[in-house]
Amino acid sequence: MTTLGELLLLCAFVASGYAAFAALAADRLRHGTLARSADVAAMGGLCALTGVMFVLGWALVAKDFRFAYVAQYSSQLLPWHYSLSALWVGQAGSLLLWAWLVGICWLVCRFAAFMRASELRGATCGYVAAYLTFLLAVLVFGADPMAASAEAPREGAGLSPLLQHPAMLIHPPIVFLAYALWTVPCALALAALAQGRLQEEWLEQARPWALCAWAVLGGGILLGADWAYEELGWGGYWGWDPVENGSLIPWLTGTSLIHAGMACRHRGVMRKTTFVLAIATFGLCNFATFLTRSGIFSSLHAFSRSPLGWMFLVLMFALAVGGGTLMFLQRQNLAPRRPFGGIWARESLIVIASLALWLLAGVAFIGALAVPLSDLLIGRKVVIGQAFYNNALIPTGLLLLLTTALAPLTRWGKPPSARQWRMLRYAFAVAVVVAVVAGVRGGLHPLEIGVASCAGLAAAAFFGGLLLDVRRRTPSPFWQAAWQTLRVGRRQHAAFVAHLGIVCLAIGIAGSSLRSRQHSATLHIGQPYQWEETTIRLIGLQQHRRADKLVVDAELLVTPANASPFTLRPAQHWHRLQREWTTEVAIHSTWSGDFYAILHGNDDTEQASLTFVVNPLMRWLWGGGILAVAAAFVALWPQRRRVAQSASSSPLRGPHFRFLARRRQTETTHG
């Protein structure tokens, strides 16, 4: 089986390499036969790659330790679903999954209806296939997932107990899917630059890819935070770890790309910025991989010290040089096509919001690279602490929240209308009232007051903007007009709902960061323990033996002062194979906050050592993130056929004009 896998991997590498070369050459020479051969080769390569995935997946589930990879990441006692998840836990397996997902992106790019009319499709597929070839080259020459064990062991090393968590079943594939999706906007940008097709066609086609990648990466980051919160047992969800920063940075630049793309499509401004962001976001996905695989950091996460990370660095360098050269050659044609419509126009707000996003990304980037950068610049390795992040991120984050809140009451190319100004005044009044109430209530941090005020502004601006849109539809009955407004302006209103989700996320971050309380204690069975206004009673300690582990758990009855009592069961698991303990925290979650219990150990059968953490507003954080991701998918859903038909019935033809016709219709609707 290992030989079959090796052969399939080699076939996939050769076929995708030919597909990349043939697709780019066919696009240049306008050679139909060559283009068809590229498609056939890419399809063959993808089939071979799928075969490799099946072989490794089967070997993992069947615990075939003749595969070195299976012996390293699986074991006889590991449940099949965690065994399968080992496919993306190890170095070679995760790269294989990533390559396969890039292959799927190629398939969609080549055959999806929304890409069919594109003049850029051939070159785009060529660039995607070239990247697939790079990933396969890394697999073939650096991290072979099909390598055979020197001597097949009777038992494998098993999966780290920390990674045996439901969030880890889907977090890595989701992040790799997002990285794969970001390949296509970059490929479209490179194709547009190479061909000199600098109109908004590439942006119109990049939009669904970018939006999907943004939502998927956001979901992946959220799942990773949830894993850290539930599995690492320290009561937090974000530690400014280089790996966390590595995935956050492309998400921030991707957010900027989506907004700059809108400004470019609607107003013809930020044209160079969109190209730079499309290339940079993809490059930063590779940077995240470089962080995890180069071994230049010490982190909570494990890092390999293989040369693979440096291969990604070379790729980033090539991308920067290639993209920079193309941008330089096209610089004359990338000037803005219209002036900004004033400082209060929506495109100006996007410029300010983009700047805030770049600053956030820059801070995370410098934080991630502080050690090697300081070594290079001052000859000493220096680690930067939390104060660096907090000082820079709090004002920038508040600015970003403010621009996010104002978006529904702004217009493209013009300052807000008289009605919008009036509604903005009401929204600011709501923000002031919220700030005053929060201030009078006392005991709140200025940041909490700021976030609460921005939240009030965002909610008022959202509903104010919606009301203005609905009023335009009078004399229709109110609810009918509201439905029509939401239906016709679905993309726009979904985007504003995503903004509200981000505001909820900020509320959760502010609450859980500023008001988190922690207390450690040793509890005796039956004796009540008072912490703040909560009574905690240790009911008992139980020990259960399972095939792969020993479980020790403590049953706690928690009675808050003004709420119903609840039971928690924090536990400790002893994993026999890995000879490691893991902490399984217990969390009681409400909209006001989480009560988080950690069991450390029990010196005897009558007492247990525990830590309790109160993390306020955590549900707002998770709920806000889920809302933003869900809203992005709603915005992503294709427009109804009627709209498309009316667009295609326009006397203007071609994808660019279909976009213009559609936009015209939207502008008629929304003013």
Binding site: A71, V351, H656
Partner: protein, 165 residues
């Protein structure tokens, strides 16, 4: 019909649109203020909260100049030296480098995967030229991207230590 793509690119650029109009200076000023304030605040934060990141050998070689400073030191936990309190709120161990060994006393929650012969990063103050008082331990998760050799695991798979009690 002539496609817009076939028109010379320059034709699509409206006359005078390369300038951003009167909004430009205001927007540039706003951006300049935002960037300046952020850089200033970040530099204040970085100056207030930073530590040297050293290997065990580097730390011990420069110990005389580092006593009392907050440091982050990387190394491996020496076999047979790890002692963890029953409530998992303190631990002591020897951190070994290439040549020298540093005694570490840690106060604070001990991570689950703090094990002997594993790489660890400790954060705390150097008390004297031989020992460091740590308040934070950062461990590596050994099976992500890089696994322990399966044979090592199999060789050690007989249980040597009982469950934590």
């Amino acid at each position: 019909m002539t496609s817009l793509h076939e028109l010379p690119q320059r034709m699509s650029v409206m006359p005078g649109a390369s300038r951003v109009g009167g909004t430009g200076p205001k927007l540039a000023l706003a951006c300049g203020v935002i960037v300046s304030v952020t850089i200033y605040l970040a530099s204040v934060g970085a100056n207030a909260d930073w530590q040297y990141y050293l290997t065990t050998d580097e730390c011990l070689n420069q110990a005389d100049t580092l006593i009392g400073d907050r440091l982050r030191v990387s190394g491996k936990i020496a076999t047979g030296t790890l002692l963890v309190a029953g409530d998992r709120r303190s631990a002591t161990f020897q951190l070994v480098g290439q040549e020298r060994t540093l005694a570490v006393t840690s106060v604070g929650l001990v991570p689950d995967n703090l094990l002997e012969d594993r790489e660890v990063v400790v954060e705390g103050r150097l008390e004297n030229s031989q020992s460091l008082q740590a308040d934070k331990l950062i461990t590596r998760c050994a099976s992500k991207y890089e696994s322990r050799a399966a044979t090592d695991i199999v060789a050690n798979s007989t249980e040597r230590a009982g469950p934590r009690r």
